[in-house]
């Protein structure tokens, strides 16, 4: 670190410490109260549920493992889904979508021919 940076840090620290020294009595009183409230946590007994947390965690993990092992094999729907996607995204389908207007016109002409 450059010397000028160190000097800047030192001056900033002095300004900060000075502002800490100027904290008013009300703030110091609240800090004191907060500290004693925090230290009061030492006297509190461990919460009942937190005592059982490790055992509960293990039990839950075992239950999930059993459920996963005993669950039936999944129905294999992938091939048909893949087929659908292939049809939808195939080059022919995209060309067909691009020519949709043409096919629509063909339909109209056929319909008119039937009527005629």
């Amino acid at each position: 670190m450059k010397k000028s940076d160190e000097e800047f840090g030192r001056q900033a620290k002095e300004a900060f410490d000075s502002s800490v020294d100027r904290l008013d009595a009300a703030a110091l009183s609240k800090l004191n109260q907060g500290r004693h409230a925090a230290l009061g946590e030492l006297d509190k007994p461990m919460r009942q549920w937190s005592r059982w947390m490790p055992a509960t965690g293990v039990a839950a993990a075992v239950a999930v493992a059993v459920m996963v092992m005993q669950s039936p094999a999944p129905v294999n729907e992938l091939p048909s889904a893949v087929t659908d996607m292939e049809i939808l995204l195939g080059e022919d389908s995209i060309e067909m979508l691009e020519d949709l207007e043409f096919y629509s016109w063909i339909d109209t002409v056929d319909l008119e021919a039937d009527v005629g």
Binding site: S4, F8, R10, A12, F16, D21, L31, G34, L39, L42
Partner: protein, 212 residues
């Protein structure tokens, strides 16, 4: 000796030692928190721009430290305490963002930040010569405004390294990042602040230069 007598004897010999240890731990924690609380308050206050919010954040950090980390060694308390405090500050900012969004939705005034007056919010002077006090508070006001405008991670690195005096390793623990990131954030913060506070450098930030 029956069982009851034996249990009583064991409890009588074991309890004073346990109590003494607990008392010693409480005294160490009390000393640690008393040492750190005022600087922590100012650091939190600079980050959230509100004294009462900062007091709440510091108290929460103290409670969480005692509740969760009182069993750790004393040397670990400072970075752990500041990690809790920085997490609290980040959560506070996240809540403010959400709150501001909600306020904008209801077309109400988002925050009162625009009304914040750093000079009006400065603490009351005590026991210093008026000119010295004015120089100190003006320098700190300028520095405080500049520090607030830093990106969050740079602000954290600067305040923890400079104001709290944590080393790079301790700052990395407090910030939850690598030591390399701390060095980068800190270096950028110092350069930004120096550029911004050029008019106050080198003899306006801090009282030492004026005294000599």
């Amino acid at each position: 000796m029956d069982v009851r007598t034996a249990v009583f004897a064991v409890s009588c010999t074991g309890t004073p030692r346990t109590e003494a240890r607990a008392l010693q731990k409480e005294q160490q924690l009390n000393q640690f928190l008393a040492d750190v609380e005022r600087r922590a308050l100012r650091i939190a206050e600079i980050a959230v721009r509100d004294r009462d919010e900062a007091l709440d954040l510091v108290q929460d950090a103290m409670i969480k430290l005692v509740r969760n980390y009182s069993g750790r060694s004393k040397e670990e308390w400072t970075p752990l305490f500041y990690r809790i405090l920085q997490n609290g500050v980040r959560d506070w900012h996240r809540r403010q963002v959400v709150r501001n969004r909600v306020m904008v939705w209801f077309r109400r005034k988002p925050t009162e930040d625009n009304d914040y007056d750093a000079i009006a919010a400065a603490p009351d002077p005590t026991g210093r010569a008026p000119d010295e006090e004015l120089a100190n508070s003006e320098a700190m006001d300028s520095l405080e405004v500049a520090v607030r405008d830093l990106p969050a991670r740079q602000r954290e690195a600067f305040m923890l390294r400079t104001f709290e005096g944590l080393d790079v390793a301790g700052t990395a623990i407090a910030m939850g990042c690598s030591q390399g990131s701390v060095k980068t954030h800190y270096s950028r913060a110092v350069h930004t602040l120096r550029d911004r506070l050029e008019e106050h450098r080198p003899d306006s930030i801090g009282p030492a230069e004026g005294k000599s």
